[in-house]
């Protein structure tokens, strides 16, 4: 047996070395053609002035100019032939949009989870079943429905406000131009990029969409906290708010930080919701990076500039990923220790 096993082992070793690549082959052939090649192609076209007239011949078009990094410079300095575009304003708004969303969703989600976690409240299951509804509805539907709700003439929001004001003796119907009023209601907030009324409307709509997910995660974390901790704390005479800050918060942190990061990346690239609700308007003031990139290719048809813009987005997302990955890792080791 011993004499036999040596050559066999050698043979299987050679096979073993090739086998993983064989298993990877189908996926990498497909990825090579439809993912990696387009990624490279994207970088190449980002250095050209690819436009509609070059569509038929592609990179072989004789009219196609290689213009170096002009597209990148144009994007950064706002030199694109596009109205109301300022890269750093859009970037600031985009970051602000993602951060403010998470800052509202996480605390609200945790508080509601804590509320529902109180011992012995009635209809707990019913509430939990209802509160999960926004999570299950597709964002494109949420976006369109809220767009209708914020309609100036016939929208439910203005009608609801009219009804409320009528309770206080108001007579005139309220007609707020939620999605089209450009003037920022709070001018000093984010001076770099004025926040129009549409931003607040979107915050309301995205709040509806966002907190239930956080509640879902927080509920799970809350239920894994041992009850003895609270008992011990209350024996020691700790008040309820002291217990919340010193028992609940530290113990649900390891679950909430990845959820918050997930929420941040989701909000940062929330294409469908933004595109369906405002389309980036009014005057591009609620535009985020991905919706602007889409406008460049779909409506403005500046393929070269769109390629450059996508490359820039890639690096922005990469930086965000590296930072958030760091945070996740740090909290993981915190959770383990």
């Amino acid at each position: 047996m011993a004499t036999l096993s040596v050559p066999m082992k050698k043979k299987t070793n050679v096979r073993r070395a090739f086998l993983p690549y064989l298993y990877l082959l189908p996926a990498f052939i497909v990825l090579g053609v439809i993912t990696f090649y387009p990624l490279v192609y994207q970088v190449i076209i980002s250095f050209t002035d690819f436009q509609t007239k070059d569509l038929l011949l592609g990179l072989n078009s004789p009219k196609l100019n290689h213009i170096g990094i002009k597209n990148y410079i144009d994007i950064i300095t706002g030199g694109l032939p596009v109205q109301n575009f300022d890269f750093f304003r859009v970037l600031t708004y985009n970051l602000w949009w993602a951060i403010t969303n998470v800052m509202v969703h996480v605390p609200a989600g945790v508080l509601i989870a804590v509320l529902l976690n109180v011992k012995g409240i009635w209809f707990k299951r019913v509430y939990r079943a209802i509160y999960v509804l926004p999570v299950v509805i597709p964002p494109i539907v949420v976006g369109t429905v809220w767009r209708n709700i914020f309609d100036e003439q016939y929208g439910a929001m203005n009608q609801a406000l009219t009804w409320i004001s009528s309770l206080f003796g108001g007579i005139d119907p309220i007609k707020i131009r939620w999605l089209f009023e450009y003037k920022p209601p709070i001018p000093w907030l984010l001076p770099n990029g004025p926040l129009p009324l549409a931003y607040y409307a979107m915050m309301i709509a995205n709040f509806w969409l966002g907190w239930p997910f956080m509640t879902l995660v927080a509920t799970g974390a809350l239920q894994s906290i041992p009850k003895e901790l609270y008992e011990a704390a209350s024996i020691d005479g700790a008040s309820r708010s002291y217990q919340f800050w010193n028992v609940t918060v530290p113990l649900i942190k390891p679950a909430m930080i990845p959820a918050a990061i997930y929420g941040f990346t989701m909000s940062f690239n929330l294409f469908n919701f933004v595109y369906f609700m405002t389309g980036g308007g009014p005057a591009r003031s609620t535009e985020i990076l991905v919706t602007f990139a889409y406008d460049l290719v779909r409506n403005l048809r500046l393929y070269g500039a769109a390629g450059a813009f996508a490359v820039i987005i890639f690096f922005v997302v990469l930086v965000i990923f590296l930072i958030t990955n760091r945070i996740t890792r740090a909290t993981e080791s915190y959770a383990e220790s």
Binding site: I34, L39, L55, V145, Q223, F276, Y303, L318
Partner: protein, 339 residues
């Protein structure tokens, strides 16, 4: 990339979420005082109103038979009329396409993209999960890079590349396939087929991001399957291929189904690529139609019809979500990179 072990840790979140522990109310020593109970109930009801407001609004609208836009707020249906649903099911918009065709396009696209990407992904996921080889790290990062790109990011090159595949009939009668063959320069040619302007082209383009997602997701799942069974089979003389087909695939089947449905939920809502690629109304999808039914250019669409459409588009996703909640929450928090 270190988050692959997360699913195990978080898996029981939703199990607990639904098997709510009610021990507090039954055997607990401290009882909730009534005033506290009432305050909490009030808060909970306020939240219910917040959650149900848009849902009830759109349901009421969809059951209304009035074609004109609502002038006052109604959040409880006064009538249950299915007129709007009937209209949507026969002809949703002014475009010459029926609901069944829309459903077919959306369904075909999401099922085909989900299934094909899964089939191609499974062997790669297995290789990443079980084999140790030289280029493992490099290749894994290569698969991860497209996941960092937001869906819009790859749309430009995909549009341009798909657009270069065209079938044309030249004036001389010859049929050519661009970019491989072409008519004589200067000759008139009739465009017969443009890969970019077809569901096939959209499907191929969607696979470009669906495939890395499937590989990554499946790899995460395969990592959680214990290796003992495979090792036992290998000791009994099974070669790696047999182990893969006879042991790993059957074990991974339920999780492949989850990956499929997770993908399906996303591809069902896919809007970016179809809206960019397709120009023929016959190829439109449900998501595109929903977009067409709202906004300033859709003033001719009655809102009750829009509401019915919104509910129809939302229903399959909502049902799938409710069936798969546990996996979705653990999967989302684990691989939360894709925007």
């Amino acid at each position: 990339m270190t988050t692959t072990t997360e699913p195990v840790k978080k898996k029981n979140f939703l199990v607990r979420f639904f098997n709510i522990d009610t021990s507090g109310s039954k055997g607990g020593s401290e009882k909730l005082p009534l005033w506290r109970q009432l305050v909490i109930q009030l808060l909970c009801l306020i939240i219910v109103v917040e959650v149900m407001f848009p849902i009830m609004y759109i349901i009421t609208l969809s059951f209304s038979s009035k074609e004109n836009r609502p002038s006052t707020l109604e959040i409880f249906p006064k009538e249950i009329s299915l007129v709007a649903y009937k209209q949507v099911l026969t002809r949703p918009t002014a475009n010459p396409i029926t609901f069944l065709e829309l459903l077919r396009n959306s369904g075909l696209l999401s099922i085909a993209v989900g299934a094909i990407s899964l089939l191609i992904a499974v062997t790669a996921a297995y290789a990443f999960s079980r084999f140790k080889f030289k280029l493992r790290q490099v290749l894994m990062i290569m698969v991860f890079i497209p996941l960092l790109m937001p869906a819009v990011g790859l749309s430009t090159p995909l549009f341009l590349l798909m657009n270069s595949f065209q079938v044309k009939t030249c004036a001389s009668g010859a049929t050519v396939l661009l970019p491989f063959t072409s008519c004589i320069p200067g000759e008139a040619a009739k465009l017969m087929f443009n890969l970019r302007d077809s569901l096939l082209g959209v499907g191929i383009a969607m696979i470009s991001t669906a495939l890395p997602f499937a590989v990554w997701n499946l790899k995460g799942y395969l990592d959680t399957i214990p290796k003992e069974l495979e090792e036992a089979a290998a000791i009994d003389g099974a070669d790696p291929n047999q182990v893969f087909f006879k042991i790993v695939i059957p074990l991974a089947l339920p999780q492949m189904a989850v990956t499929f449905f997770l993908g399906f939920i996303g591809y069902w809502q896919e809007f970016v690529l179809p809206w960019l690629f397709l120009t023929n109304p016959k190829d439109y999808t449900l998501a595109m139609t929903l977009y067409n039914m709202t906004g300033q250019y859709a003033s001719s669409i009655p809102w009750n019809r829009f509401a019915a459409m919104a509910i129809i588009v939302a229903t399959p996703v909502a049902i799938m979500y409710i069936l798969l909640q546990k996996q979705i929450v653990s999967g989302l928090t684990a691989g939360g990179v894709k925007g």
